[in-house]
């Protein structure tokens, strides 16, 4: 299962590299090791899913990659530049309640655009309103939007600042299953038109197999990279095809789950 992905970015350049990243938290005088020796290379334009048992440190790894948490050992480099902190060139999308409730849809999308001129800003906002299908809700507040629309808004706010990398931390975790399925389609559509590098944390096996070029399987705490699966199925993926099921079962096996209930 190590064949090259068919649809990954043509450029083989490495975008993000973690070198021996380790994370130890001090809690009540005890040190808890959360991440251990994470070595990972993510190519430019690649769609990576991080999966693993809940509480294993997936989100911690994402926060380290995003510069929100400095690793206690090892380093993260993006374009060969050491990551020191959060940066508008890479935006983290949270699970829920990440949009600003005091701003309208337009205000949220334009939040990171204060350096642009008014006209440019308006144009950028209009573009992402269109792309994320939020037309007619420009002046609405998040409290008037459904859960799916809020997440589309959060993605729109992230994309508006034109980041190279999107980190998504279980972005659809709080949505109902139908909305999640639609949102995955939307995300793939954006990824295919805009070609950003996406690192996506999920605990949902199907989600990972539907979306990712490569699925990184983390072990339980302290998290190590247990396996990396390449999903070499072109999009749109037929989720009842034999190949899809093969990949899914393979992933379930790697996580250590039986595929009967």
């Amino acid at each position: 299962m190590s064949t090259e992905a068919l649809i990954t970015a043509p450029a083989p350049g490495v975008k993000l590299r973690t070198e021996h990243v380790g994370m130890v938290f001090e809690r009540d005088g005890k040190s808890v090791s959360v991440l251990e020796a994470i070595d990972l290379e993510v190519r430019d334009g690649e769609f990576i899913c991080l999966v693993g048992p809940s509480g294993c440190g997936k989100s911690t790894l994402l926060n380290v990659m995003g510069g929100f948490l400095p690793p206690t050992s090892g380093s993260v480099t993006i374009d060969r530049e050491l990551v020191h902190g959060p940066d508008p060139r890479r935006i983290l999308v949270f699970q829920e309640r990440g949009v600003f409730p005091w701003l309208t849809v337009e205000g949220n999308i334009g939040f990171g655009l204060s350096k642009l001129s008014g006209a440019e800003r308006d144009q950028r906002i209009a573009h992402y309103v269109q792309m994320m299908r939020l037309q007619g809700f420009e002046q609405s507040y998040p409290s008037d939007l459904s859960g799916g629309m809020k997440q589309r808004l959060q993605v729109a706010r992230a994309l508006a600042v034109n980041p190279d990398i999107l980190y998504l931390d279980e972005p659809f975790g709080a949505l109902d299953s139908v909305t999640r399925l639609i949102m995955r389609g939307e995300l793939l559509r954006i990824w295919q038109t805009e070609r950003r590098t996406i690192i996506f944390v999920t605990h949902d096996i199907d989600e990972a197999v539907q979306l990712a070029d490569r699925v990184v399987v983390l072990s339980s705490r302290p998290a190590k990279i247990q396996d990396i699966l390449t999903i070499d199925i072109a999009h749109p993926r037929n989720i009842s095809s034999a190949r899809y099921l093969e990949h899914r079962d393979d992933l379930l096996r790697k996580i250590g789950l039986a595929y009967t209930v």
């Binding site: 508008p88 949270f94 701003l103």
Partner: protein
């Protein structure tokens, strides 16, 4: 809600009006039954109110009281909000100043009257200082807790979009804490209105508080005392209702658990 279960529109007004009317009737007949010569009946209070209006002093008194509240409460907001935001934002500063604030906070503004007179002499400034003290602490406390309750997710998003710390404070933290700050301001305004009456009884010779004490002192005019008390109540209610309108602004409504 089910339309059938909803009380009729008229009921929203009918029962409160009935309760008020019953209370007035109780007051009226109590005055008659006890044959008191001192305490006024509702009718004589109404006549007293009319007399005050005729003499044209009432509007000046109301204006003076409102002006003192506006200055005292306004100053408390102008100083208290930035201070509260700073204390909430920098926990180390809060650790240093919090004990002092917590000791000063429970001291009733009334207890400050001698000190206020010592500082400012008898006059407007002393009264305004008392109002300031009454309003200041609830505002600071609301800001501190408002800031510390801002979900870290908003701050992280602010950092992620490249905001400088000052911008995170003004564009994210302040906005996220605003509903709670407004609640603090509303409580502070209520206290300011309580304190102005007390302040005016001692330090000045105008305003509704002065009207109450002056009506008693110059000829035991209890009809005017009660008339002024009722006015204080009504204006306090109007201030509170007016302030509540702010909570309906779209950019803060999310914080008040209104529908959607």
């Amino acid at each position: 809600m089910n339309a059938l279960a909803r009380p009729g529109r008229w009921e929203n007004f009918f029962w409160p009006l009935l309760a008020a009317a019953l209370l007035l009737a109780l007051w009226h007949y109590s005055v008659i039954w006890t044959a008191t010569k001192v305490f006024p009946s509702p009718l004589s209070v109404e006549k007293g109110l009319a007399e005050l209006l005729r003499k044209h002093v009432l509007w000046a008194d109301i204006g003076d009281s409102l002006r003192r509240v506006a200055i005292g409460f306004g100053t408390a907001g102008v100083i208290g909000i930035p201070l509260g935001l700073t204390l909430g934002w920098y926990p180390t500063v809060n650790q240093v100043l919090n004990p002092v604030l917590q000791i000063l906070r429970p001291i009733s503004p009334i207890a400050w009257i001698p000190v206020a007179i010592l500082f400012f002499g008898i006059g407007d400034h002393a009264a305004i200082f008392l109002i300031f003290l009454g309003a200041f602490f609830p505002i600071v406390v609301a800001c501190v807790s408002g800031v510390s309750n801002v979900p870290s997710i908003f701050r992280r998003a602010g950092r992620n979009f490249g905001l400088a710390p000052v911008q995170i404070l003004t564009r994210v933290v302040f906005r996220a804490a605003l509903p709670q700050i407004l609640i603090g301001l509303r409580i502070a305004l209520g206290i300011a209105w309580l304190v102005v009456v007390a302040g005016e009884m001692i330090a000045v010779d105008s305003g509704l508080g002065y009207l109450v004490i002056d009506s008693r002192n110059s000829g035991k005019r209890y009809d005017l005392v009660v008339a002024a008390m009722l006015l204080i109540g009504l204006i306090g209610l109007a201030l509170d209702l007016g302030f509540r309108q702010l909570e309906k602004m779209r950019s803060v409504r999310w914080g008040f658990g209104h529908e959607s």
